[in-house]
Amino acid sequence: MVSPKTFQQIDKTARDMERGVHDSIHNGAKVTSEKRYATLWHDYPDPDKLRELAGKIKQHTLEHLDEYLPKAEAALKGNGAQVHFASDGDKANEIILKIMQQNGCKKMVKSKSMVSEEIHLGPYLEKNGMECLETDLGEFIIQIDDDHPSHIVKPIIHKNRRDVAKSFEREGLGDYNDDPETITRRARQFLRHKYLEADVGLTGGNFVSAESGRIVLITNEGNARFCMAATKIHIAVIGIEKLVPSDRDLALYLNLIARSGTGQQLTVYSQFINGPKAPNQPDGPEQMHVIFLDNRRTDVLASDCREILRCIRCGACLNVCPVYRQAGGHAYRSVYPGPVGAVLSPLLAGSRFPELADLPKASSLCGACNEVCPVNIPIPDLLLRLRDKGKREHAKAASAGTPPMGMYALLASQPHAWRGAMVMGKTVDYAPQALMNIVPAAQAWTSVRKLPPWRGGKFRHWMKSRNKAG
């Protein structure tokens, strides 16, 4: 069967994807989706109630950010941390560089942080003469491959172990060996030294309790802990939406995020960071800096898509999404892929919205994302709102390949013309096409599917004749 012609980038990416890459993504996403479902429904009688509650608490926090953010700031300072606010990525990068320069630091070890990807921290630091090493195994492989993450939780979902073995061989990390345990052992051996050499450990933050200023970090590799074990300075760069009101709320989110993201009951490591090293503690960073990043989040908060800021980055919506499974994360051309990315990325793009306005179109609006979301974000509704925005703002990327709706709307608001078109459908081309909104692209439909025979007006005729007979 010939691949149908397409005008949409995400569709092209899916069409042109190598079979092996497709299978890695598809199977990886599918298996994790199944694990998520099994764990959640095994452990809780009604996980949907938990998702709703978690969504409400996050929404509440967002709507009272003006209260919770100062509260978190005060608590963090009370714990001995220094708090910074960065209005955008450049400001955050500058703050980080300045901290490093002022303290004579050269080497940073980094635990997985989506926000640092968002602000392009790595390239910025390298440009300014700093060394910046990813320590999450997946991110480390992304870094040595000069690649980009294609998944929020599993950045190398698009690679298989043979790909990784080749990269390790190329980088001088041993002979070719695609045994996952060997690969992990080699990475560990390499990274352990780096932790000891580094001056700064950088992390994100999965949650911040406004009440206590506790920063919660979850990992499966323990690398976030290592990033803080031998370094003098810990920097946490965190989106302002990561707040939760109190420590009590963490139980709900920690239970949901692991089950939703990987199908684990809890991640292997959950760290609660209460500040820098206390005088009576033998080790730990002497300084702790927390950078709260806005980077258009307040714009999103002011928009009619603010629910997307509830997101806790579990990746469940990516795993369940049939479009993500076909197209992979790179297709979304932004840090946040999949359904959440299709909403968040165009919004965070600001004036570059038109470039990413096609992302919200890449969905059949099936709603699977909403159904698995641990904070119950109505993603399909938000995609629809962004489609409306794309249309109103004449974003070309959004309209490519979408049939115009003018003729359809005209016909569908004039009953006489509509009925005529129904009966005439067989001979008048525009009727069925306007109805099915496949005007310029009927071929795109029929190249892979057959259309059933046109039977316009038959039901109306039947209805009328029996009314007469009756």
Partner: protein, 250 residues
């Protein structure tokens, strides 16, 4: 996304036949009338009805969509239940239209319509309280879980009705929660992704060798059926209403 409505619902109803039944699937609309009449309903079919506005809504052209919805509001007047043999068109009435009319002055009219719209299976089981269906349908049926039933009681309602029919075997199949890939304009603007999704759906369905594929939405069946026919797989499709009607005859 689903509204609570007063039950038991009135049996004096208006039928929204949907544009797909108007254009392609007249027998589905006919079966819907026959099923409703079997239940003692008085069916009014407002002649001037066209479409629910969903194609333009999903395509992002909310101006065009509102025009069509407004026409619908002028056609479906009064307070009779509006019965729709399609999960997605019903959801357009009780969810989609509310979104696109959020800031419009005629939002109350949309809300009024939303509050009396029922998807067919939901109406029969939850609106009328009918949970057993008479007659026979001695066949293996695969029921596709149309996406617009998520978060509504319609999917459960359809299963309740089907499982109560004598002789029927509803066969489960793999990855039932996955979309068939239709999505209206999505199937045209993302043809490769849509095709891959549809083919995966067809594979899973054929694997369990049903005699019929059933759904509560002709959009899904147009798409899945289109792929089945293009690939000459020869699996007939039925809307739930057709099975209920045929069971009465059996």
């Amino acid at each position: 996304m689903h509204l609570e409505r007063a039950t038991p619902a009135s049996r004096d109803i208006q039928l929204m036949a949907t544009c797909l039944c108007d254009a392609f699937f007249d027998d589905v609309a006919q079966a819907t009338v026959e099923v409703l009449e079997h239940l003692g309903c008085t069916v009014e079919f407002p002649e001037d009805q066209t479409c629910c506005g969903q194609p333009a809504f999903n395509a992002g052209d909310w101006n065009a969509s509102r025009k069509v919805v407004r026409h619908g509001l002028s056609v479906f007047k009064g307070d009779k239940p509006v019965i729709v043999p399609s999960g997605s068109c019903a959801a357009m009435n009780f969810h989609g239209a509310l979104l696109e009319f959020e800031k419009e002055p005629d939002l109350p009219a949309v809300q009024q319509m939303a509050g009396r719209t029922w998807e067919l299976a939901d109406y029969i089981v939850n609106g009328l309280g009918v949970t057993e269906w008479p007659g026979k349908f001695p066949h293996r049926v695969a029921l596709h879980r149309s996406c617009h039933l998520r978060g509504t009681p319609s999917g459960e309602a359809a299963l309740t009705l089907l499982n109560s029919i004598e002789g029927i075997e509803v066969v489960p199949f793999g990855e039932a929660e996955q979309c068939c890939g239709f999505g209206g304009a999505f199937s045209v603007s993302f043809p490769n992704v849509s095709k891959a999704m549809g083919q995966l759906k067809v594979e899973h369905i054929l694997e369990v060798q049903p005699e019929y594929l059933a759904a509560l939405d002709m959009g899904c069946l147009l798409h899945i059926g289109g792929i089945i026919d293009k690939e000459n797989k020869g699996l007939p499709r039925l809307h739930l209403a057709q099975i209920l009607r045929d069971a009465l005859k059996g």
